[in-house]
Symmetry: D2
Amino acid sequence: MNANLNPSEQRSLAAIQECSFVVNAGMLWREGTEAKFLDSIQDGSLPKEAFDRWLVQDYLFAKGLTTFQAIAAARAPRSTQKVLIAGLGAMDAELEWFERLASERSLDLDVPHHQTCQRYVDYLIAAAYTQPSEVLVAILFGVEVAYLSGWSALEASGPYAEFVTRWSTEHFLAYVHQLHDACVLHPHQRQQDQFNEVLRHERDFWIMTYEG
Amino acid sequence: MNANLNPSEQRSLAAIQECSFVVNAGMLWREGTEAKFLDSIQDGSLPKEAFDRWLVQDYLFAKGLTTFQAIAAARAPRSTQKVLIAGLGAMDAELEWFERLASERSLDLDVPHHQTCQRYVDYLIAAAYTQPSEVLVAILFGVEVAYLSGWSALEASGPYAEFVTRWSTEHFLAYVHQLHDACVLHPHQRQQDQFNEVLRHERDFWIMTYEG
Amino acid sequence: MNANLNPSEQRSLAAIQECSFVVNAGMLWREGTEAKFLDSIQDGSLPKEAFDRWLVQDYLFAKGLTTFQAIAAARAPRSTQKVLIAGLGAMDAELEWFERLASERSLDLDVPHHQTCQRYVDYLIAAAYTQPSEVLVAILFGVEVAYLSGWSALEASGPYAEFVTRWSTEHFLAYVHQLHDACVLHPHQRQQDQFNEVLRHERDFWIMTYEG
Amino acid sequence: MNANLNPSEQRSLAAIQECSFVVNAGMLWREGTEAKFLDSIQDGSLPKEAFDRWLVQDYLFAKGLTTFQAIAAARAPRSTQKVLIAGLGAMDAELEWFERLASERSLDLDVPHHQTCQRYVDYLIAAAYTQPSEVLVAILFGVEVAYLSGWSALEASGPYAEFVTRWSTEHFLAYVHQLHDACVLHPHQRQQDQFNEVLRHERDFWIMTYEG
């Protein structure tokens, strides 16, 4: 249980984790949201090398996700644009935060994508241009609900408390709920399929961050 | 002279109106920024019918511009993304403002585009997908600097003061400067040509708002 | 009546000209398929200047249409791809034919689009990226059935016989029928609306070729 | 040595296999063009199951490649369009050939992509919309020169002779040379990098066809 969220928020988190997308994903849900990397963040055993790899590759992923969200915003109906545009603002702030962090740690962000990261980004960009607008929102919901769940399962303490806190806020929780609402408002038969595909990429990404 | 801007801001406005894009546009600059519609806003003689037409068609234009900006943000280098994403947030707020206004006036926003508006939007969408990223920023700069100049030449008084004020703020002025900076940082030989094309569309749009 | 088509082909032409798209277009059908330019081709009175303008601007239009068709082919279901890819092959041959003709007449093809041509191309490119796949086929059908009808109403004689012949062949007729079949196989409520929009652009284009 | 090609064609094949793209790819060239699957085609030991998997997944890949080529044709300069449009015609014929073959063998083509195939297609579609036009031609050249080399190294005999023959023709060889010419005519610093990326995907694809 994450101490950043109050009881009401905890219930809201539990509710989103019981939505039909998550339930229908079956085993993939745990595979995409639990990881040795996260366990090692929690118990403080994470090698510096793994953390640095995560930071750089997650930045490269976040750049790809920003492109995805911009295309999705361009193709969305008016009723879905607000949440997508707000999300773009959040991504821009997140990219800046990564850039500052990398600078403080003297990490070079101008490096090749790990092939696992590249596959995830290729998937997102290809989807952005070719999947129906309703499916794009389900993809983004999958990305964000998995991230929220992965991090908010940790306690915000120890050397990586800042990171746990960042992705277990009530604001992030509210954003994830808004994305879910947008999926429900504009359903599409291919949403679940692509939600699952996101979880496969999340699973592979977490493995890559820990194992290289 | 617009009373919303203090002397320092007036100088900043004058400076942007003397940039090379504006100078090289020649006659098109005045044609795209001065209009009977604006004169009639100022002297209070604008027929309600013209104002309502403007409000509806400018909303439809703004929706198209939002799509343009989202595609431009997707295709921009990291250094240009911040201003484009901030601009998307502003457009979302502007669309909401139009929707509230239309609701108050019982205006239907779900109507066909006037052909002049349609041509402008077609131009923007076609450009968004096919012009180089550097040119897209020049197009957006053209749209915004023309709008800023058109409205901030008016005094914020009379029945339409709210509208004059809206597009003569220091924030809008700062945004236009940032767009200009982005053009200068990433130059492209086709920027001027498309800046001029924007002014032609602005000219035609203003004529349409007044004449129908 | 066009002497290039035998009686059976004449009936086939008449049939396509009575399809529901044409009928529902009302007055726009005549406006988009009859033109002073074509009348003057027929009676031999066309000024050389108008012919040259048509040749250059129709080439620039054809380049834009080729881009449109390529995007449409990328976004089409498998069942519609064959006719769209065949059409791309035909467009490539047509562009070459224009290039040869322009070379023979010492016409420069690297000139700006006339604004009427630019509007038509902007419309096509914007549609290619944003309209549903089913609507794109209706747009292409509109372009081609209008061209077929305009030219095949002329007799293939006089100084411009080669041009009349080019767009009144049984192959072109068969292609237009295949496009119509694809529209009927994959209907969409916005098809008629965009079919009509094409006819408006055709009307304006013909006027531009004659009047400049 | 492939008996389908005469001595002059053999020299032409050897020449393209010594181009700088191939040389600079180093080990990746062999990895992307030699495969147990191809060896087993040659010696007749290929399990029916592997052949069927290849046929279905190669069809799904070919559909993705067709989309890639259509976007590339849309974004290409006029001088490169001819070869890209001709290639689209060839792909359409190839898709039909696969469909006939699958029908004869009662294979269902409407199945999910193997994840290795999906990654390759995601890569192609993402590239089609985001890489410079010059790089797209290098990607297509990579796909086709690897396929030509892989198959034309085999003798066209045994149960799979039809397949060996299909991709070792003088026409295919000429097409590959035209693509190479287009790369050389419009160079770009990222061409080699993406040529290499194609070979990695080819390598993984061949492994998947054999191993499942």
